[in-house]
C-alpha cells in the first residue's frame, strides 16, 4: 500500500504526514509539486503548511501546480485524497471541495488541541471512526474560517457532506461549526485540524488519561488502508 504525500514549496507537515502513514502500516511516497506522475500511489495526502508563502490566497498557487492537475483528474475518478489545513485550502481552491477559507474571526493564529465530532464515517478517510464519536487532534491555523454561500451550505447539510464539526468552541468562526468536508463519493476529505500530529503516544495531544497520549489521528490513515484493502 503506497500513500503519496505532496511537498509544495512552503509545505511544513509533509514529514509528519509521511510518519503517520508509516505508523498506520502503509508506505509513504514523497510527491513533488512539479511531478505530473503520481508514481502509482493508492492515495494522496496534501499536508499542512504555507505553500507558496500563502501568496495570492492560501492554496491558490498550489492548486495550479503540475502535481495538482493529475491529482484533480484522479480524485474525480475516485483516488482517495486527504487535505489537511493548507491541504484543505488547496482542495477548495482546486474546486474538489466547495466553499472557501478566510482569516479566523478573531484574527489570531490559533494553536490548540481541538475536539471534533465525526459526522460521517462512510468516507475513505473516516470509516474506522464511530458515527458521532468525539476525537481530539491539534488545530493550528490563521485562515481556517469556513465560508460558503447559503445555497452551498444547504447542500452540504442536506447531502451529509459535513464530515467533522468543532465541539465546545468554534475556534475560527467557521459557518455551521464546519471543521471538515467530504465530496459526494467520499474519496476526498479536507479538514483544518491535523490528524498527523496525533498518531503516536507520547507525541500527541493531552488526553484525560495522560499527557500527550492522544492518537485519534491514526484512524484517518488506517481508514484509507481499510478502504483500499476492501475496494
Amino acid at each position: 500500500m503506497k500513500i503519496g504525500v505532496v511537498t509544495f514549496p512552503g509545505t511544513l507537515d509533509d514529514r509528519d504526514a509521511q510518519r503517520a502513514v508509516r505508523l498506520a502500516g502503509a508506505t509513504p511516497v514523497p510527491l513533488w509539486h512539479a511531478d505530473t506522475n503520481l508514481h502509482e500511489v493508492d492515495a494522496v495526502v496534501l499536508p499542512g503548511g504555507f505553500s507558496y508563502g500563502d501568496y495570492l490566497r492560501c492554496g491558490a498557487i498550489a492548486a495550479q501546480a503540475p502535481v495538482m492537475q493529475t491529482i484533480i483528474e484522479k480524485a474525480n475518478q475516485g483516488l482517495p485524497v486527504l487535505g489537511i489545513c493548507n491541504g484543505f485550502q488547496v482542495l477548495v481552491e482546486s474546486h474538489l471541495l466547495p466553499g472557501g477559507l478566510i482569516r479566523n474571526e478573531n484574527q489570531h493564529f490559533i494553536c490548540r488541541d481541538q475536539i471534533l465530532e465525526v459526522e460521517n464515517n462512510t468516507t475513505a478517510w473516516t470509516n474506522q471512526f464511530k458515527l458521532g464519536e468525539h476525537i481530539t487532534i491539534p488545530l493550528k491555523n490563521g485562515e481556517g474560517g469556513y465560508i460558503a454561500d447559503a445555497e452551498t451550505l444547504k447542500r452540504l447539510e442536506g447531502e451529509n457532506l459535513i464530515t467533522f464539526r468543532y465541539v465546545d468552541v468554534n475556534p475560527n468562526g467557521s459557518m455551521n461549526n464546519i471543521a471538515g468536508l467530504r465530496n459526494a463519493k467520499g474519496n476526498v476529505v479536507g479538514l483544518m485540524p491535523h490528524p498527523e500530529h496525533a498518531v503516536e503516544a507520547g507525541f500527541g495531544p493531552d488526553m484525560p488519561e495522560a499527557m500527550r497520549s492522544g492518537v485519534d489521528g491514526l484512524k484517518f490513515f488506517t481508514s484509507v488502508i481499510h478502504s483500499l484493502v476492501n475496494a
Binding site: 490566497r57 477548495v92 466553499g99 472557501g100 482569516r103 465560508i147
Partner: protein, 82 residues
Amino acid sequence: MPKIIVEVMPKADLLDPQGKAVANSLNRTGHSEITAVRIGKRIELHYDNTPTEQQLEEAKQIAANFLSNGVIEDVVAVSVEA
C-alpha cells in the same frame, strides 16, 4: 510600461478584518467621520506592447479564475493602463 490593472475586493457582505482594524485605528486617531474601511488588491499585469482586446479578455478570465476566488472576493475592475 503598458499594463492591465486588476482590482479585487473582499465580498461586501464578508467581514474584512484588515479593513476593520484600520477603521478602528482611524477612529482612535480622530477620524471619526470615516465610517468603514475595506482593503482589496490591485494586481498589475505588465506587457511589452499595449494589450489587445483579446489580451484584455484573457486577463478578465485570469482575474475571474485565478487572481480572485468568487467564494470570498469580487473582481471590481479589469482595465488597460497604457
